[in-house]
């Protein structure tokens, strides 16, 4: 039987039908299986993304004609103090999320790893907040931290006043209050992820470390962390992306106020598109969002290509 997978020597002419089967029909068959997914990807992701980039160079109001304005939206963007406020808030948001929830996730996972009885119960308790939608999560904390009905107001009746202030109504605390609420919602998921990664670490490595006299902290530092590095890097990437694109918690808890103190790029984009009817400008904000998100992704990709084990 003829083996069509082997190249035919140049000295022997290939029948046309055989050549078409090998170079056209079979590849087309393979592509046909992925074609539906490609079509969905194109319609849902690629076309809107390219459209969004193009609209960033227009004055489109979301309804009428889109007229080309070149770089005018980007020039306006780089002179917009509110955009820089929003960008700064996003950097703060991301920085806090890369520290506090990750630290709490690692600590929680490390402590849970040492529990044999009842571990599942603790994992479930820590994971429950993650299962809430952001709307439910924000409503819970809006009333827990309410200046009239909240924990602070109730404690103040007994003379404990350190929490008796409107966290989301003050410019200096609004953003940090949102980070707290979002972090409470998120850290349980990290515990579960890190715990799963820690259980995959070879126990012999810990045994060797103990024999070498390593303390528990040194075991964590030199055995656990390097072993779960891929999971750690993965969570850092998704945190970076998630906190750069954060919208729901900010929109519901403060709307970006007071006076843009908790404004982030996503809420500012929304305001420009749906309240100012300046979709072209909003699209330019979206382009900047995408560029900012691509920075760590690009670094990650480059380092992986260079052989870094991350």
């Amino acid at each position: 039987m003829t083996d069509y997978t082997r190249a035919t020597p140049m000295s022997q002419p290939v029948p046309l039908g055989q050549w078409m089967m090998l170079h056209i029909i079979r590849p087309l068959g393979r592509w046909a299986f992925v074609l539906p997914l490609l079509i969905v990807n194109a319609v849902v992701i690629i076309i809107p993304s390219v459209s969004g980039i193009l609209y960033a160079f227009t004055d489109w109001n979301g309804i009428g004609d889109a007229n080309w304005v070149g770089l005018a939206n980007f020039q306006k963007l780089f002179q917009d103090p509110i955009f820089f406020q929003a960008f700064t808030n996003n950097v703060i948001y991301t920085s806090l999320f890369l520290i506090i929830p990750i630290f709490m996730g690692l600590l929680g996972a490390y402590l849970l790893a040492g529990i044999t009885h009842g571990q599942v119960i603790f994992r479930l308790i820590y994971f429950i907040p993650y299962m809430f939608s952001s709307v439910i999560n924000t409503q819970i904390w809006r009333y827990l931290l309410h200046p009239r009905y909240g924990i602070g107001a109730e404690l103040a009746k007994y003379g404990i006043t350190f929490l008796d202030f409107p966290i989301f109504g003050r410019r200096d605390t609004a953003l940090y209050g949102i980070v707290f609420v979002d972090g409470w919602h998120w850290w349980g998921f990290l515990v579960v992820l890190y715990l799963a990664a820690m259980t995959q670490v070879d126990k012999e490595l810990y045994e060797v470390a103990r024999l070498d006299g390593a303390t528990r902290f040194q075991q964590f530092r030199f055995v656990t962390l390097p072993s779960i590095r891929p999971t750690l890097i993965f969570t850092m990437l998704i945190i970076f992306i998630g906190t750069t694109l954060v919208f729901d918690h900010v929109y519901i808890l403060t709307g970006g106020g007071p006076a843009h103190a908790s404004e982030v790029m996503a809420t500012y984009l929304y305001t420009q598109a749906f309240q100012n009817f300046d979709v072209g400008y909003a699209a330019s904000i979206g382009v900047m969002l995408a560029l900012w998100v691509s920075v760590p992704l690009s670094i990650f990709y480059i380092l992986r290509r260079r052989g870094w084990e991350i």
Binding site: N61, G62, I63, G64, D65, R142, H146, P147, R148, F165, P166, F168, G169, R170, R171, T254, G255, G257, P258, A259, H260, A261, T271, F274, Q275, N276, F277, D278
Partner: protein
């Protein structure tokens, strides 16, 4: 040839049956409304759909409530799936749709049915752009002051009608640990605009405010700065609202209405949709409520002003396949005051009250006399030309957004009033250049 005659008969028969079917065809009109309250939707079925369909047997009217309707409607309009009849939040929302050709011109229908004679003149004008009618007003509103009448009687306070009386009541309330006023913008930053409108209309002379709206006066004029300064002083420095500006940012409707109903606050300055809210909260207490015009804020007392406002409008989708039938539905509302009043009764006359030439006798029995008093005083004042201009009706979208959002920078001390108004003027200049302004009566 033998087959030709039967074929002709068959074709004629098919054509005739198609014509008969077309004559009996029932047209279905679709309308999306912003209420999702099932009681109110059921009321619309009983008060609007049923009488309309009874009067128009070949038209079915399908009404559905939509959450976040303005966002949903915008997407549907762009996607070609919008309903036949479009309900929007008012003229300032319509400019973009009109510019994009999504709203059908209604001049021919208005002439056919005589709408200009049925609607109040100022209300009819708000639906026009460059002389072409695009929408009819569905709800007229204003800004007033609700107060806890029981609290005022117990404390011996006089309902304020001017700045001096307002300060007296506010100081007396603060001494009692009562918030002089309560409000909040956590539901929506729209609340900022309500307060700005209340102060602008009751401090700035009407002709000056109108001049700024039509471009004959600059927003940087000192009279506007003084009004904004007064509001900033009251809300940010004196803390008259909600126990402080920081609380104001966190309060939503349930918070400030509860404060008023329980006597923790004395007054609320809000739109007339408050007639729907006040009974809900006061019925849970032993206190009673009432309303008064927003006090005049000038040093030399002047009559209070009712700002004109259109809370929502109805328009015909330019891509609708049933424009004539949609116009019939609009005409059904405009030409039947008793139907309008019946519909509005389900909203405590705070919505769906098309601005027609009502008489007080037209209102059904059992209507809250406080609500009747508002409509009576509003009609009397506006009929004599004593009215103002609410931001959500007469400020174009971008200008309205700047007005209510960036005021927080002034309240927080991040921006001067002069810078705020200069930026506001710049937004107006851009809007005027694009031609998307709103007619001002």
């Amino acid at each position: 040839m033998k087959l030709l005659r039967p074929l002709i008969l068959i074709f004629v028969g098919l054509f005739m049956s198609g014509t008969v079917i077309a004559q009996d065809e029932v047209v279905t009109l679709t309308l999306w409304v912003e209420t999702t309250d099932q009681i109110q939707l059921d009321h619309l079925q009983q008060a609007l759909v049923q009488p309309f369909e009874a009067a128009h047997p070949n038209i079915r009217l399908e009404i559905s409530g939509q959450e976040q309707m303005q966002d949903v409607l915008r997407t549907a309009i762009l996607g070609g799936t919008a309903p036949d009849i479009l309900q929007t939040f008012g003229p300032s929302w319509n400019a973009e749709y009109i510019a994009g050709g999504f709203m059908e011109p209604l001049n021919d229908y208005a002439a056919q049915y005589g709408w200009e004679d049925e609607l109040l003149p100022w209300a009819y004008a708000t639906g026009t752009v460059s002389g072409t009618l695009y929408s009819i007003p569905l709800t007229y509103e204003s800004i007033i002051m609700f107060y806890n009448r029981t609290l005022f009687e117990e404390q011996g306070w006089t309902v304020p009608t001017n700045r001096a009386e307002l300060e007296a009541v506010a100081n007396a309330a603060l001494e009692q640990g009562i918030h002089p006023l309560s409000y909040g913008n956590r539901d929506a930053v729209f609340a900022n605009g309500h307060l700005i409108s209340a102060y602008l209309n009751n401090y700035v002379p009407r002709e000056d405010l109108r001049a700024a709206l039509v471009g004959e006066k600059q927003w940087t004029d000192p009279v506007f700065a003084e009004a904004i300064a007064l509001l900033t002083e009251d809300i940010a420095e004196k803390g008259w609202w909600s126990g402080g500006l920081e609380n104001y940012y966190q309060y939503e409707g349930a918070d400030f209405w509860t404060e008023l109903a329980t006597g923790e606050a004395a007054m609320i300055i809000v739109g007339t949709w408050g007639f729907d809210s006040a009974p809900l909260y006061f019925d849970e207490t032993d206190n009673d409520w009432d309303w008064a015009p927003v006090p005049n804020m000038t040093e030399t007392p002047q009559p209070s002003v009712f700002p004109l406002a259109i809370g929502s409008t109805l328009a015909i989708n330019a891509n609708s396949q049933h424009k004539d039938e949609a116009a019939m539905m609009l005409n059904f509302l405009i030409s039947n005051p008793e139907v309008v009043l019946d519909i509005a009764s389900g909203f405590n006359f705070s919505e769906w009250l098309v601005p027609l030439h009502f008489e007080l006798d037209d209102f059904p029995e059992g209507v809250d006399p406080r609500v009747m008093r508002f409509h009576s005083e509003f009609a009397a004042a506006t009929g004599q030309g004593e009215y103002g201009y609410a931001n959500w009706t007469f400020w174009p979208g971008p200008a309205n957004n700047h007005l209510r959002v960036e005021i927080e920078g002034v309240w927080e001390g991040l921006a001067t009033i002069e810078d705020y108004l200069a930026a506001h003027q710049a937004v107006w200049d851009d809007v005027r250049a694009s031609g998307n302004t709103i007619p001002v009566p």
